[in-house]
């Protein structure tokens, strides 16, 4: 019963959204308001650009992809692991229709920058 109780408390004290995820991880994101649009910054260190997929759907920005680990040394043994790998998915909803805006992506220092500028109407794939 003790284990049962612990598990129950764990669930009760963890917001359901966090205890219950559809993908293994989600990258954190910062969102900025610009004079003529929006800037969304994802922390995506170690993700290869070819593994990324950005899609716009109405007011939503959908970012999907996967972080795959690389072997740095032969005979290495994992002692501690905190970085999340494998697939991720992040959906950002903004208070305006994004499909009518121009989209530009830039990958700098492990950060993915996604800019939306008014007048743009293109969907673009990065990489």
């Amino acid at each position: 019963m003790a284990g049962h109780f612990e598990r129950l408390m764990h669930v009760l004290l963890t917001p359901a959204a966090r205890a219950f995820q559809k993908t293994s991880w989600q990258p954190p994101a910062d969102i900025y308001r610009l004079a003529r649009g929006w800037l969304v910054k994802f922390e995506l260190a170690g993700v290869r650009p070819e593994e990324l997929e950005v899609r716009v759907c109405g007011p939503r920005l959908v970012l999907r992809g996967a972080r795959r680990d690389i072997r740095l040394e032969e005979g290495q043994q994992s002692y501690r692991m905190e970085i999340a790998y494998n697939r991720f998915e992040r959906v950002i909803e903004l208070p305006c229709d994004l499909e009518g805006m121009r989209l530009a992506t830039e990958y700098r220092d492990g950060m993915l920058l996604v800019r939306f500028e008014a007048r743009g109407t293109l969907d673009e794939h990065v990489g």
């Binding site: 991880w25 795959r68 680990d69 692991m81």
Partner: protein
């Protein structure tokens, strides 16, 4: 991106006792080398993915394909930390996988796996089950007394998909591994929800039951503890007061009595069992007193105590003669029985039934028998007894239950073979509470009563050695089957002669003694006694007579006590002073009877009586009017008599005008006394014949007998009492049915000599005897025919 059909190769981590569901996080401690190797392989890969699958038997250390379930979950390692030679993991479930085949089993499991589709069926039932599951989850949370800040259902309902809710709930509940696995394997939502619903229902029931048991145990515990505490205190107080433990002393005493008592084996066992039960009972328990009284009763019963019979026939006859005058038949029967007992001690005691009017000595005869036999005597009256349980006792389960009267009497007697007198057996009642006569059947049947079971005692008791005597005033009221079991001895009423003897021999000496006098003080000559019998008493027995003698004796003893005592001889003339004016006048026959009056004879429980049947014509009337508190049988008897006389009108010389022009009124005084029975038939026919013909009936003739419409005279009962009543009234001639001739032998010799009896077979003969003139007419008629 991997699709559903894609077959991949993944390391397999077997876990014990639990199942990882998709979308859920789970911390794991990995200790087994094999599992660690699988984890290493996964961490080394770029996706950190592996398959987590439950192991069928947690005892297996190095599981192979057969030891794990086929369906498991794809998981990604989110965190890893090494500590104390083991690996701490947090894994995240992704989706369900199915093992296709094992690629390697050493050094760790590696399998070719394929993803299983996620169930997504919908419908009413899914929705209904989903809601029911949420409600059940709350109920279980309540029962488990988890003081959670919010109900489980609220947390769970943040998850949108019903199936995901099931996964989440399953991870929270402590379900069996098999149940958890079956939820994972469910290929539709409906299946998973149904299963979950079943499990939760079961879980809720178990928890409810557990709670009930816990509550019960708690309350029982506290009551017992309280009782124990109080008992200890009581003991301490008793010791302080210097009182020995009274209940122990009581039980000890009962135990000693049990050892001394001579009990049959079955009884001894039962008593020992009850006794040990008593020891375990607290004194305050209601059962304690009940059981104690029961044990005392059982130990007091004379199970094997018998009194020695006095089989000296001479002694017995002396005792009987000393106590009772005459009653030859009864005494002979008792002597016979004694003789049989002397030759065969095993002989069954007879069951006697004394029948006779009150005061003839039935009860005292029972006492004499006991004295003659040297047995204990007990009597009980059955009069008005209407509850079978009075005889047979109440079962001990009833509050206030008591043994039946039979066993109580035996206990009082203190021997198993007393003379037990059951008085007034003809006055047994019966109603919805049961029929005591039925219980008597068993008690009085020698074939059954050796194994008599009283409801209270609930053990067989042998009544076969008991000498039963019943008494009754009349046989009519005794149920047939009961009567069959008894030997009936009649004690008819006494004649004046017998009463005189009884008074001289028994009553006067007894009453003198009671009044403190001797025969020198008071003499009651024969003529005085006769006067008392005739003028101060009217009875078949001798009770009034004895009371009157007692009254005389007391008056005399007053004179002696006052000091002016001279020996007294009481003369008939003195009686009025001592007893008051005589209440009865000699029943003189009416000197002269008018037409329409006949002298009948009646039998009552108190002896015989003379009664007159009076008939008058009602001019212009039509009907037959009957008065005098007559019963149905007597009324019908009157109608039969009238019909017979009408049918013989021509022979009797009665005119049709008389018959048709007049009604008839028949009255039988005294009007306040109820009368019934067919024996007045002859008297009625004679009265009517006399009325219609205008010829009076002979005034010195009394009559009795039942008649039929064809003119036969049938026999009746109570001949002795009736004849004695006629004699008391000074009538010397009695008309009787011929078939009653045999009863005349019961009469004392002097009565038979003094009376004339006319035995008749037909009504015509009775008419001839009663109204001689009519006889001449009838014989003339016969001659003509």
């Amino acid at each position: 991106m991997s699709t559903l059909d894609e077959v991949r190769v993944l390391p397999v981590l077997a876990i014990k006792n639990t199942v990882l569901y998709p979308y859920l996080l789970m911390p794991l401690a990995v200790g087994r080398p094999m599992s660690q190797a699988a984890v290493e392989a996964a961490v080394d890969s770029e996706d950190k993915a592996l398959m987590v699958v439950a192991q069928r038997d947690p005892a297996v250390e190095e599981p192979a394909l057969a030891d794990v379930y086929r369906v498991g979950t794809e998981a990604v390692i989110k965190r890893l930390e090494r500590a104390d030679g083991g690996i701490q993991l947090v894994v995240q479930g992704i989706r369900r996988l199915e093992i296709l085949e094992m690629e390697q089993e050493k050094p760790f499991l590696r399998a070719r796996v394929r993803a299983l589709p996620e169930p997504s069926d919908t419908g009413m039932e899914v929705e209904a089950l989903d809601r029911a599951i949420l409600a059940l989850a709350d109920r279980i949370q309540q029962l488990a007394q988890q003081q959670a800040p919010v109900p489980v259902s609220q947390v769970i309902s943040q998850v949108a998909d019903p199936l995901h809710r099931v996964y989440m709930l399953a991870s929270m509940m402590s379900l069996d591994l098999e149940k958890e696995q079956s939820l994972l394997e469910a290929s539709t939502r409906l299946e998973a929800l149904r299963k979950m619903h079943d499990y939760l229902t079961h879980e809720a029931q178990v928890l409810e039951l557990r709670q009930k048991i816990t509550n019960q145990a708690a309350s029982e515990m506290s009551r017992e503890q309280r009782e124990y505490l109080l008992r200890r205190q009581l003991k301490a107080i008793q010791e302080e007061l210097g009182e020995a433990d009274p209940e122990q002393a009581e039980i000890q005493e009962l135990r000693e009595r049990l050892e001394k008592a001579q009990l049959p084996e079955e009884v001894r066992k039962e008593v020992a069992r009850e006794l040990s039960r008593l020891e375990r009972l607290p004194t305050a328990a209601p059962d304690y007193q009940i059981t104690r009284s029961y044990l005392e009763f059982v130990l007091e019963l004379p199970w094997n105590t018998l009194t020695e019979d006095n089989r000296d026939l001479k002694h017995a006859r002396e005792v009987l003669d000393a106590d009772h005058y005459n009653l030859k038949d009864v005494k002979d029967r008792i002597i016979e029985h004694l003789a049989v007992l002397k030759l065969n001690p095993e002989a069954k005691a007879p069951i006697l039934c004394f029948v006779g009017p009150p005061g003839v000595g039935k009860t005292s005869l029972g006492q004499s028998i006991a004295r003659a036999l040297g047995r204990k005597f007990e009597r009980m009256s059955l009069g008005g007894l209407h509850d079978e349980a009075e005889l047979r006792g109440h079962r001990r389960t009833y509050i206030g239950a008591m043994p039946g009267r039979i066993l109580q009497a035996i206990r009082r007697a203190g021997a198993r073979n007393p003379v037990l007198m059951l008085d007034e057996v003809d006055k047994l009642g019966h109603d919805f509470r049961g029929d005591p006569a039925a219980a008597l059947l068993e008690i009085l049947d020698p074939a059954q009563n050796f194994d008599f079971r009283d409801n209270y005692l609930n053990l067989p008791f042998d009544l076969s050695a008991v000498f039963f005597i019943t008494t009754a005033n009349t046989l009519d009221a005794i149920p047939r089957p009961l009567l069959d079991r008894m030997e009936v001895l009649r004690l008819a009423g006494y004649t004046e002669e017998e009463k005189l003897h009884i008074a001289q021999r028994y009553l006067v000496p007894r009453r003198l003694k009671e009044a403190g006098l001797t025969p020198e003080h008071l003499t009651l000559p024969e003529e005085t006694l006769r006067h008392i019998i005739a003028r101060f008493t009217r009875e078949a027995g001798v009770r009034q007579l004895e009371r009157a003698i007692g009254q005389v004796a007391r008056k005399v003893s007053v004179r002696f006590a006052e000091g002016n005592g001279q020996p007294v001889v009481v003369r008939p003339d003195d009686l009025a002073d001592m007893l008051g004016p005589p209440p009865f006048f000699p029943e003189r026959a009416r000197r002269k009877l008018g037409p329409g009056v006949a002298t009948g004879l009646a039998w009552t429980e108190t002896g015989g009586e003379v009664l007159y049947v009076e008939a008058v014509l009602l001019p212009e009337g039509k009907d037959l009017m009957l008065t005098g508190h007559l019963g149905d049988v007597m009324k019908e008897s009157a109608q039969a008599a009238r019909s017979y006389i009408w049918s013989q009108a021509a022979e009797l010389g009665i005119s049709k005008a008389t018959l048709h022009g007049n009604g008839v009124h028949i009255h039988v005084p005294a009007g306040a006394i109820p009368k019934d029975g067919p024996s007045a038939g002859v008297a009625m026919a004679v009265a009517l014949a006399s009325l219609y013909t205008g010829i009076p009936v002979r005034s010195d003739t009394a009559m009795t007998g039942e008649i039929t419409l064809s003119g036969l005279v049938l026999p009746v009962g109570g001949i002795k009492e009736k004849v004695l009543a006629a004699r008391r009234a000074g009538i010397r001639r009695v008309i009787l049915p011929r078939e009653n001739e045999k009863d005349l032998t019961e009469l004392p010799e002097e009565v038979r000599r003094a009376m004339t009896f006319r035995l008749v077979e037909r009504v015509e003969e009775a008419l001839t005897e009663a109204i001689p003139e009519l006889g001449q007419r009838l014989s003339a008629e016969t001659a003509v025919v």
